[in-house]
Point group: C2
Chain length 190, copies 2
């Protein structure tokens, strides 16, 4: 692509991405159209088409600018790390932009391949990281797992995700504690 390092090209690209994210958060994914994005970004419609000939990839990139829940590198004891990380995820799931992006991802992934690849990658990172941390904790005798470590992400993040997107309420510490305890028998009750 020509002009990729042209400052004007980069500026309009950033303005378009910001406009797309704003429209998504304010009105939902259907609002991310070339016409509305152009108006919001203060650029011509042709400029939006030049950067993103289609609206879907623009939505994908605008969504990628919102930081999604994530699991930091595990540290022992895993139970404490888990409590800290899940509390952080619960707080993130309470943010309007995270709720908008996660539900848009789950929904659009059903019909769009790029979105589905993002969804799969997002799920895989959480599942893998949690499984690795728990397998390690089990090897060190910190927990006797009551389910496969591949089920741990659904068991812990699932309740908070449902609370945030279906019940639309904040997660209380009790729910996090119950999810942690549901993973198996912890050696010490911290």
């Amino acid at each position: 692509m020509t002009g990729e390092t042209d400052p004007r090209f980069l500026r309009s690209r950033e303005a378009i991405l910001n406009a797309a994210r704003e429209l998504l958060l304010e009105s939902g994914p259907t609002a991310v159209t070339h016409a509305q994005v152009a108006e919001r970004a203060g650029v011509g419609r042709a400029t939006v088409y030049r950067h993103w000939p289609q609206a879907e990839p623009l939505l994908v990139e605008a969504m990628a600018t919102v930081p999604m829940p994530f699991l930091d590198k595990p540290t022992a004891p895993i139970k404490e790390w888990l409590r800290r990380e899940l509390t952080a995820i619960a707080r993130q799931l309470d943010l309007d932009d995270v709720r908008a992006v996660s539900t848009t991802l789950a929904n659009t992934a059903l019909w769009d391949r790029t979105m589905d690849a993002r969804r799969a990658q997002f799920a895989r990172v959480l599942t893998d990281r949690l499984a690795a941390a728990l397998d390690d904790a089990q090897a060190r005798g910190e927990i006797a797992l009551g389910l496969t470590s591949r089920n741990a992400a659904a068991m812990t993040i699932g309740p908070m995700y449902y609370r945030s997107t279906i019940e639309r309420a904040p997660t209380d510490p009790d729910l996090i504690e119950a999810a942690i305890n549901a993973l198996g028998t912890w050696a010490t009750d911290q």
Copy 2:
């Protein structure tokens, strides 16, 4: 409204609703436009506008034709009832139409009042029914609850919902069993 009992009016209404549901399942909520619905239903665009001046309420009604997960009247022992009901919900969450409707509801509810009212009602019914069943089970000594009964829906349906919509995989019986056990200490291990 005039003509409500006119058979032709009712037939076109049904054709429009069917077309809207088909388009939603095939291509997502953005496909439910007056133009596409008219074409699919084989009626004029004006007819679609006559029934539904706006597309959102048409989407809401089309979604309402898909049976959503539900909890049957509780029967003792509650643990068995719960295992049966959660297994049924897990199977429903594996269906494309249920996945489409539930993720569309969670997403559109963020920006649309009618959708949000449906989401809230759906969540409330599940939470209330589960809470009542568990409070009753606790009163009869079947379980000592480890979390508030209002947290039970998120704790049990949450993992399956995350598995279905974010991990996009079927729920295994282990996950259901772990969720049931996470509710508290069951008196008998059935």
